[in-house]
């Protein structure tokens, strides 16, 4: 943890209020995000209990599984979820703009520009916490291999076509969320934690209610008090006043409220099944409906506070101005969305259970590249982030005190002006270490030459290397002038692309060799005898 963020946390303790950890917003926020607040059943792998989902903060859609161990009910929940999520996702598929992409021409092997579609905007899913992101992945995994009746007429529990499709989309959102700086799927606690430093630990920041209490405490109360109450306060019934953001529920809720309600539901269902005539059935149906309503009310009572908290978090984040390079990163999200849209449209199979060697290596390379990009861009967009890089010796800011024109020693001398900068920062410089400054949004390279006096005096001589045009005289405005205040980084502003990896069919012997013939389609998860997960 940087000393700058440590200080911010201590200031938060001291003032009783979260302190800024950023001065701009480093994540894109959609104008119409889809908020998803799921709950699961304890002890079962991805057995949903219910969810609030939707784009209208005043009218969330409540989805409930009154008996989470009942396969039919679970499947009905997933189908209902698909009915909300897929239309939202599809709503971004059709509005496109023309864009260019480099592709390798299969005939000539050359890189050529091709005109392609790029979706003008992309969907954005927001869940309360990191555990919510994991659940999105898990739900995606549980659905994408489900078989429809059309695929397999024999399948015992055919899924409506939209369920495996939702599985593929949730998988895509979940995978994309692993890319640093991506915004297709966000956890509210992560985004808030990126922008504010609270007076508690990062572990405690995982509690959305406590985190919000620090950032925006109620009138007349300190963040510490409000956060502790959000964490621990219980009502007379022993229930948490601020229920956990899920997807796991509080055991006291499970044991005291939910279990008896589910038991009543089960009894009502058994009774209905045993009804002997229409009148009796009508009565018992009424009892079943009542029992079901009760569970609905319970689920809503545990999700609604979190739902409201997520929207409050969005309000707070929207007050921050968006960072200058956020839009550029969102464009990468739009590419990601567009290409998955195209894969689905082309009828490609769902994402495999496990990445092959080449796919895994490509993903890792892409994420490392995006991590470097994110770190550089956040620093360039935000003086507070840059301050931490300056403190660690990876950047320096100062005033230009001298500029001497000089030229390269080639046949056609190019300008290589020597710029002396006075700084109080202590960058890790060595001979010919490169430094970069942002010139009109593009990086200009300089090389460290020497300390004008001793290293303690903070007078650095730099040689400007590029972005000065082709002529003998530098382009106007391309060379720093005396009195300019500049910030140089020792890290590159744009990560370099790595080398292209072989195609999966050319996987070398060191990595298991090429995959076999036509890869078999991934089998569906077997359906077990018992009607439990």
């Amino acid at each position: 943890m940087s000393l700058i963020s440590t200080l911010a946390r201590l200031e938060a303790v001291d003032t009783g209020r979260a302190q800024p950890a950023a001065t701009v917003r480093h994540r894109h926020l959609s104008e119409r995000p889809l908020v998803f607040v799921p709950l699961i059943t304890a002890g079962e792998a991805g057995a949903p209990l219910g969810a609030l989902v939707g784009t209208d903060r005043d009218a969330p859609r409540l989805l409930v599984v009154p008996q989470p161990r009942d396969r039919e009910l679970r499947f009905a929940f997933l189908a209902d979820l698909a009915d909300v999520v897929l239309p939202y996702v599809d709503g971004f598929a059709d509005a496109v703009e023309a864009a260019e992409r480099s592709e390798t021409d299969p005939e000539t092997g050359k890189r050529v520009k091709v005109e392609v579609e790029l979706c003008a905007d992309a969907p954005q899913l927001i869940v309360p916490s990191r555990a919510g992101v994991d659940l999105v992945r898990l739900l995606g995994r549980s659905m994408r291999f489900r078989r429809t009746a059309e695929q397999d007429p024999e399948t015992p529990f055919p899924a409506p076509p939209r369920v495996p499709l939702l599985g593929r989309w949730l998988t895509h959102f979940g995978e994309r969320a692993r890319v640093p700086g991506s915004c297709l799927l966000l956890a509210m606690t992560d985004v808030l934690g990126r922008h504010w430093a609270t007076g508690q630990s990062t572990l405690e920041d995982q509690h959305l209610g406590a985190l919000l209490a620090w950032i925006d405490p109620p009138e007349g109360r300190s963040g510490a008090e409000a956060a502790q109450e959000a964490e621990l306060a219980r009502d007379d019934d022993g229930q948490l006043v601020c229920p956990p953001a899920g997807p796991a529920t509080d055991p006291a809720f499970d044991n005291k409220l939910l279990a008896p309600a589910i038991e009543r539901y089960d009894r009502a269902r058994t009774a209905l099944a045993a009804a002997e005539d229409g009148v009796e059935a009508d009565d018992r149906l009424g009892a079943l409906t009542a029992a079901e309503r009760e569970i609905h009310a319970l689920v809503e009572s545990r999700t609604r506070p979190t739902w409201d908290a997520v929207w409050r978090g969005l309000d707070l984040l929207r007050e921050l101005p968006e960072g200058a390079r956020v839009e550029e990163r969102w464009t990468r999200d739009r590419w990601s969305f567009t290409s998955h849209r195209d894969r689905v449209a082309a009828g490609e199979p769902p994402q495999p259970r496990r990445d092959d060697a080449v796919t895994a290596a490509n993903k890792l390379a892409a994420r490392e590249r995006e991590q470097a990009r994110l770190e550089a861009q956040e620093a360039l967009d935000d003086p507070l982030v840059m301050a931490a890089r300056r403190l660690s010796g990876e950047a320096f800011a100062g005033e230009v005190v001298d500029v001497v024109m000089a030229y390269s020693e080639s046949k056609r001398p190019s300008p290589r002006p020597l710029v002396t900068v006075r700084t109080d920062d202590r960058p890790h410089l060595g001979e010919r270490v490169k430094a970069y400054r942002s010139l009109g949004g593009k990086p200009q390279t300089a090389e460290f030459v020497e300390f004008a006096a001793g290293p303690e005096d903070g007078l650095l001589v730099l040689r400007i290397m590029d972005k000065m045009g082709r002529g003998k005289e530098p382009k106007p405005g391309s060379v720093p002038e005396k009195g300019d205040r500049l910030c140089f980084t020792l890290f590159e502003h744009e990560p370099r692309g790595g080398a292209k990896l072989p195609d999966p069919e050319e996987t070398p012997w060191t990595h298991g060799g090429p995959p076999g013939e036509e890869p078999a389609p991934e089998p569906a998860d077997p359906v077990t005898e018992e009607d439990v997960l």
Binding site: P180, A357, A360, A361, A365, G393, P502, W509, T510, H511
Partner: protein
């Protein structure tokens, strides 16, 4: 203690020669596509690589050599040129400015280029893994040598493995592992986990490849090899090439009784010294510890040290270029450099473990990674870091550390997550640290300012 009688006399020279012969035989005449060689610190890895390269070239097998950094590549080119000045060698380099050592330009038999095509047909072409990854659409090489293979990531091998038919993989399993700056947990347990080491992937897919190890460290003295071997190479032990008494470090100027002098004497005598400062929590650039390191270095040079070894019967003066200081962090290295400059010692190498990998000195002075820390972290406990720091010396290693590290280790939470299907990395940094500390405790001198 007396040596067990039944043990035959260990002749390091012939043991090493046997290992090298077996490696070269498998490489030149074996049927397997790959040969893996584990090389502990100072076991003659570079010598092996150069020799294998020359023999492959002589056998008329076009050879590519993959190393991890430009400095490593240049070093190998220079060694090859020295061993066989008639062998044409290609140095493939990046298109950055200053991509290779200027000394290469002075060698007629070395051709340098940023394009692989320009070097086609040369018997040996060398480059970094990163540069090789950009070479496409070429006829594969008959043979490759992959150097520092344990420091190479699996995905880097994936990018270059299509360029060669067979390969010799050489590296030191005890040094720092490769790492990734983003999480790679989702691939943990996969045989081709891209963030893992190249050797792990290679052996997972080709478990029957012949594996060798170089059994003798020519660098580490008899006082250091057993400790380093036990603590860091428990399953692939090695011996020192020299015996107690083969090497000696003498000091012309007698001790002035100060703690730096006393720890120098202890280290000169036994090969190890621990200069222990009183327990205290400090920031990384602990001024007292930094000052103590600088003092020790200053006194080492002032006292007219001389090293006698199997290399030369005449004492070699212990000059600044034969001494190095190792740290865990860059800011510590910078602080020690500044402190040394204040004491008028400008020429001693001061660097982090990462940068000291593969280097060798007569005496090293190490600021212990955990000295003064309020907490231990996985970074500071990493086995490879301590292994690098404790295995750079030919004569003696002096560790400067605050008291209390044993407690710090004992208080370290053991809540490590476990990924199914991954190989447990041995030795554990926690245990290796304990082993080294308890050994050092026998060579302790308390700091008196």
């Amino acid at each position: 203690m007396t040596a067990p009688v039944e043990e035959t006399v260990f002749d390091p020279g012939s043991a090493a020669a046997r290992a090298t012969d077996a490696i070269l035989h498998d490489t030149l005449h074996g049927a397997a596509r790959g040969v893996v060689v584990d090389s502990p610190p100072g076991a003659g890895k570079s010598t092996l690589v150069v020799r294998a390269a020359l023999e492959l070239a002589e056998a008329g097998r076009p050879l590519m050599v993959v190393a991890q950094t430009n400095a490593q590549v240049d070093d190998l080119v220079l060694r090859l040129a020295e061993k066989n000045p008639d062998l044409p060698v290609g140095r493939l380099h990046s298109s950055d400015s200053d991509p290779y050592d200027k000394a290469l330009d002075g060698l007629d038999q070395v051709r340098t280029s940023a394009k692989a095509a320009d070097l086609a047909g040369l018997p040996v072409v060398l480059s970094t893994a990163a540069k090789w990854a950009h070479v496409k659409n070429v006829e594969p090489w008959r043979h490759a040598i992959v150097d520092e293979a344990y420091q190479m990531r699996s995905d880097a091998l994936l990018a270059v493995a299509g360029l060669f038919e067979r390969a010799l993989f050489v590296g030191d399993p005890g040094q720092l592992d490769p790492f990734s700056i983003v999480g790679a947990e989702q691939w943990a347990g996969l045989s081709y986990d891209p963030s893992g080491s190249a050797v792990t992937t290679l052996l997972a897919h080709n478990p029957d490849l012949p594996q060798h190890r170089l059994p003798v460290s020519w660098r580490l003295p008899a006082s250091a090899a057993p400790l380093v071997s036990d603590a860091f190479y428990p399953f692939t032990p090695f011996r020192s090439g020299t015996d107690h008494g083969d090497r000696a470090l003498t000091l012309a100027v007698p001790s002035d009784g100060s703690s730096p002098d006393r720890v120098i004497d202890e280290a000169a005598e036994s090969g190890w010294g621990l200069l222990e400062l009183p327990a205290r929590h400090t920031p990384r650039t602990d001024p007292e510890a930094v000052g103590a390191v600088a003092r020790v270095v200053r006194r080492l040079l002032d006292r007219g040290g001389a090293a006698v070894s199997e290399r030369s019967p005449d004492p070699t003066p212990l000059t600044a270029d034969r001494v190095a200081v190792g740290t865990a962090h860059r800011d510590q290295a910078a602080a020690i450099r500044a402190a040394l400059a204040d004491l008028g010692v400008p020429d001693v190498t001061v660097d982090t473990a990462n940068r000291l990998q593969g280097r060798e000195y007569d005496v090293t002075v190490v600021l212990h990674p955990l000295s003064g820390r309020p907490d231990a972290t996985a970074f500071h406990l990493e086995t490879g870091r301590l292994c690098v720091l404790a295995s750079r010396h030919r004569h003696a290693c002096i560790v400067v550390c605050r008291e209390g590290v044993t407690d710090l280790l004992d208080d370290y939470p053991s809540t490590e997550p476990v990924q199914l299907g991954t190989l447990v990395k041995f030795p554990d940094g926690w245990e290796a640290n304990h082993a080294v500390l308890s050994h050092l405790a026998e060579h302790r001198v308390r700091w008196r300012p």
